[in-house]
Symmetry: C2
Subunit: 380 residues, 2 copies
């Protein structure tokens, strides 16, 4: 096991009817920025519950945060924060809304010349941020209980990530009932996103860390059990609850303690999303089997363990195959052709971008632009 | 799944050579109370590492905290805290030293007339405590990452528990190498203690909480894997590390989120330890199979699941049998006769004490004095 530091200060308030509990957790007598996305929270009653819990407070609203939240959008919110001297952020929505709020919280108190530097440097210089709370309405990214944020910039087709200790939400409300009205495609994306998060922290090479392995396998098995059940029975509370808690624990920094991590599927997926537009989870489902096939020799032992323990199969080919079948059972494609993306062209463009940035990733730091291109090419 | 609130702010610093990292985490220029037990930390080099990390600070020492830490001992430390205006507590040792430090931290700033009330009320009135850090040298109780403390009082043969949010350590250093020199009996006790902690949160009745079940099973399977390996190869770092991390996650409040809990084995075990003296884990190993047998009808579904998933057996009898065999394989007895305790007499005394306090426990709150007596009687 590798040495590690684990700290996750986010308070999780989980269950039916818990939104009202934000009242006791947000400081009184300070201006609050309430951020959300496209307005679905107004249709499913979440907005009303939040406003009711905030009754009597000074609330500034910022709506319209888009999927793959844009830097330019965030900057408008930062202006609002500054002009209203906002002291608390409340993000109500899915991963995009919460990621945007983290960036807004960090950028508003950032004292560098250009807040894009926060993303360019991965958050290295972020020492302080406006306190943030969240009401999560889409189980997927785990951002409700970590210090990560991913922001996109349309002008340059970039999608970059930052991390900061101060970006952990102070609290996150997870009410599974708020997810009943999600479109099936978003539920599917959430299941796959959480599943791939676990894989990025688990499917590397054996390091004699049996507890971390089994914790990861516990989340995978649960997603496989409750994912399809959630899609089939959208109002089954128990499935919704287990899916929501699984997605949080998939990326709350617990299962990565002391073990190597991969993240190459995310790196390549981000590029494909930024350049061609498929949703985050859609590009992950395409890339993951390609990374495994490309790294087969180095990942063989873990692929075999995963296949045996999670699927009860004995070969690595079957482990990969069952994973793709699982994605397909959720109606999630695993090839670029599903999105009319030319694999040759995408491989060329993404490979060149990685080569230019001189980045290498994966648990062995051996995936460079050329390897990424090969992986993309294999997913035609 | 039941509604829950989960918050665990303790920072875990895990791995080889990490004790020096306390330096950056303890406020400078305030008096510190360093507490420890019987002096084993002076023999294994931990004391020297700690003092070296605290070089140049004002440190008051309080040694001699005993197993099953005594109220009277803690009060002496509270006097020291008050006379030196201590502002930070550093507990170096196992569960007893850390539990004692939590009580000292709470009692020193407690404004009620009698600090025993902290334990009598389970911590209800504890709103503030001196900040606490720990260096854990014995994986077992999980106290390094929760808000629980158990204190004994010799004069009345009581062993009571309190919980407070403010009793979570700010940080805990877990260096597996510090556990190399532990006596085999203490290692064995730690394995069983952690194992029973998981059981108290897992072995109840099904509540459609598949993730919590699998997380609990992950810890159980890991303890079964690395426990015997640790005893056989005391200097195997990887086993030590997995045992240490398993014991922490067994009781850091994660696996109990949203599920019913039992704790009757602990309630009965505490009485037996307080009255007759066997170590905490020793009485747990005696009581657990008795609770299962007594509650068989109500625990049958979970016992069956546990047997199948963890041991690969199909009957509840086999699940109980394999558990006792596991304890025996660690050289841990499971009957009162091993301690020359008269089961009839113990049943009578403990039953009467519970009846007098009018307490009922277990996940159905159906274990009263008479049921506890029957359980004890069955463990002759």
């Amino acid at each position: 096991m590798q040495n590690f530091v684990f700290k996750n200060p986010t308070e999780i308030i989980f269950g039916k009817g818990t939104i009202a509990q934000i009242d006791a957790r947000i400081p009184r007598d300070v201006p609050i920025l309430l951020t959300y996305g496209g307005g679905s929270i107004k249709r499913n009653g979440v907005y009303q519950q939040v406003r009711s819990a905030l009754d009597g407070r000074e609330v500034v609203e910022f709506a319209g945060i888009e999927p793959n939240p844009q830097y330019e959008t965030c900057l408008k919110a930062v202006d609002l924060v500054k002009s209203h001297q906002v002291q608390f952020l409340l993000a109500v929505g899915g991963g995009s809304v919460i990621d945007a709020a983290k960036f807004i919280a960090a950028a508003a108190w950032y004292d560098g010349p250009d807040s894009w530097d926060i993303l360019r440097t991965g958050g290295q210089n972020v020492k302080t941020a406006i306190p943030l709370g969240t009401v999560l309405t889409l189980p997927a990214t785990g951002t409700e209980s970590n210090g990560n944020s991913v922001i996109s910039r349309r002008a340059t087709a970039e999608k970059l990530h930052f991390y900061a200790d101060c970006a952990f939400p102070m609290f996150s409300v997870l009410d599974p009932e708020t997810t009943y009205t999600l479109p099936a495609k978003q539920v599917r994306n959430g299941i796959v996103d959480a599943f791939v998060h676990v894989m990025e922290q688990y499917l590397t090479f054996p390091t004699d860390a049996p507890l971390q392995d089994r914790l990861a396998e516990a989340i995978l098995a649960t997603l496989i059990e409750v994912g399809p059940r959630t899609l089939a029975q959208p109002r089954d509370y128990e499935s919704r609850a287990s899916l929501m808690w699984s997605a949080t624990l998939a990326l709350n920094t617990l299962i990565s303690c002391g073990v190597p991590q991969d993240w190459s599927t995310h790196m390549i997926g981000h590029e494909l999303t930024a350049l061609y537009g498929p949703a985050h989870a859609e590009t992950l489902a395409v890339v993951l089997p390609g990374v495994w096939a490309h790294q087969l020799a180095k990942k063989e032992a873990k692929l075999r363990q995963y296949g045996q323990r999670v699927w009860g199969v004995t070969t690595v080919e079957a482990a990969i195959g069952r994973t793709e079948e699982f994605f397909h059972s959720l109606d999630m494609p695993t090839l670029l052709s599903a999105y009319q993306i030319n694999a040759e062209e995408a491989a060329e463009v993404v490979g060149r971008r990685f080569t230019k940035r001189a980045v290498k990733f994966g648990e062995h730091e051996d995936i460079d632009g050329s390897a990424a291109a090969a992986i993309i090419r294999s997913r035609a």
